[in-house]
């Protein structure tokens, strides 16, 4: 079975982002970029499935700028077999990404698409479910455990009420939550090896992404909370809380 792992190049989760003063977006100049953390977890899970003999090939892929090759190479260094890169400078929205991924899943005859539950830049959390819908495949989102046997996946999902256990037939789309696993560290020789692994570049024009999109009118910083105060002792804290009628 072949596993596709769609990954996105995003601002590193440790970066404190700044909104551009003209409201046109977030300032990405000189900012550290990384593989979306959830996608790294999806990548790790795919590799473990290959190591367990469940999968035969793990293919990370991305739709993004030329620089997103860095993130694909990171995934190859983790252990991916080869990579696909749809190169574009355009802002690709979830439904468009899902259309491209659906086409690639068919071309590659993927048995499973394992991806992140959300990209931490736009926080949309849509692409996996949209992809499953377009393919007519089952979906298991927010996965914290994945077990595969007999053409089926048993997935534990992190839901508001606790943990849900779902059984889906393959092929399917599974999206990773934070507790699915802890991604491995990459060793230096693996980075060298990754440079020689196959990475196919594809043109955006190969894909039909003519769907309605969302227009971004303006970007602004969130409202700031009024400055708070420090109290010295518990008695003072309790007095203030009582005064405000909070306790």
């Amino acid at each position: 079975m072949k596993i596709l792992v769609p990954i996105k190049r995003v601002v590193d989760y440790n970066v404190r982002i700044r909104v551009k003063s003209d409201g046109s977006g977030v300032d990405l100049n000189g900012v550290k970029m990384s593989v979306n953390p959830f996608d790294e977890i999806a990548m790790e899970e795919a590799l473990r499935l290959r190591e367990a003999g469940v999968a035969s090939e793990v293919v990370p892929l991305t739709i993004g700028t030329a620089k997103a090759e860095d993130q694909l190479r990171t995934c190859l260094a983790m252990g991916g077999d080869r990579a696909l890169h749809v190169v574009t400078d355009a802002e690709i929205q979830p439904l468009q990404a899902a259309r491209i991924l659906a086409e690639l899943a068919k071309r590659e005859e993927a048995g499973l698409v394992l991806m992140g539950k959300q990209a931490i830049d736009d926080d949309n959390g849509q692409t996996p479910q949209m992809l499953a819908a377009l393919l007519g495949w089952p979906q298991a989102t927010f996965a914290s455990e994945v077990k595969i046997a007999d053409g089926k996946a048993r997935v534990h999902r992190e839901v508001d009420s606790g943990i849900e256990s779902l059984e889906i037939s393959l092929p399917a789309v599974i999206s990773a939550d934070l507790r699915l696993n802890e991604p491995r560290f990459i060793k230096l020789p693996d980075i060298m090896k990754a440079k020689r692994k196959p990475l196919d570049k594809l043109e955006l024009s190969e894909f039909d992404i003519a769907v309605p999109t969302v227009e971004i009118v303006k970007t602004s910083p969130p409202p700031t909370r009024a400055a708070g105060r420090m109290v010295k002792e518990v008695s003072e804290l309790v007095a203030v809380l009582k005064d405000k009628g909070l306790i």
């Binding site: 989760y13 926080d123 089952p138 606790g162 849900e164 059984e167 970007t219 969130p222 109290v231």
Partner: protein, 314 residues
Amino acid sequence: MSKVLIVAEAAGGKLNLTTAKAVTCAQAIGGEIDLAVFTAEANGIADEAAAISGVTRVLRVVHPENAAVRAATLAPQIVALAGNGYTHVLAAGSTTGKDVMPRVAALLGVPQISDIMAVQGPHEFDRPIYAGNTITHVKTDGSHIVVGTVRSASFATASSGDGSAPIEDAAIAVELPTHTKLLDVTTDTGDRPDLQTASRVVSGGRGVGSEENFKIVYDFADKIGAAVGASRAAVDSGYCPNDMQVGQTGKIIAPELYIAFGISGAIQHLAGIKDAGCIVAINSDENAPIFEVADLGLVGDLFKVIPELEAALG
């Protein structure tokens, strides 16, 4: 005029409060507001939905497959209903709403607006990105249906009890897929208030140190009638279950009072508490970033502060 369809959500035979928050969001859009209740059998949920003020009608969809809520079986039913002249389809931004609505949007061939936090017009909305560190104002093309999830913490609960919307049975003739089976759901919430709707929340982080130590957080919460939350580090370390996680990838909450014990205040955690009325932070490190957003901060050891708080509150 707009015609909004809201996918109602229920748990344990009761309507979720988040549905009434989605109604408030729909009221800001304006027009008619229909609530769709998907159940396996006629029960009291539709009556609860009909009692929410502002609701035009309740559509009850009874199908045996609705005994187990799954995106794969729910989405085609929602899509079938949406075809009846609706301009908007909304659901709460719960894990259920987040799971099913993008599937609905893709089947309809339209984009989705996730986590609507403000309505600027029937096709214009504000939503948070970058863990709430940026707000974007987005606009959809008025020619197609709007599909969205509602950020519950941003909207008040529409009042309940004074509405009396008619309840109609809606028959849906679509084939539902059989590829997805719900095996079970494990929940270990006790009698504590629900984290998402509680007016007071007490949270513990890595500073609490162990699952055993978390007992003092629970005991304190019980004393003040609060729900209990946690940071990701506390959940990852096995101190408490995943459904207690507050933050970007956990629950987004808006209690009147939020007390954080031993939580450093990472942006991903803060993303979940920005709408709290009053944030109180207790942390032994005076440089902990949580003090930058706390309304009230106290530098101290939580194991000393909690007993003192309990004593002071009598």
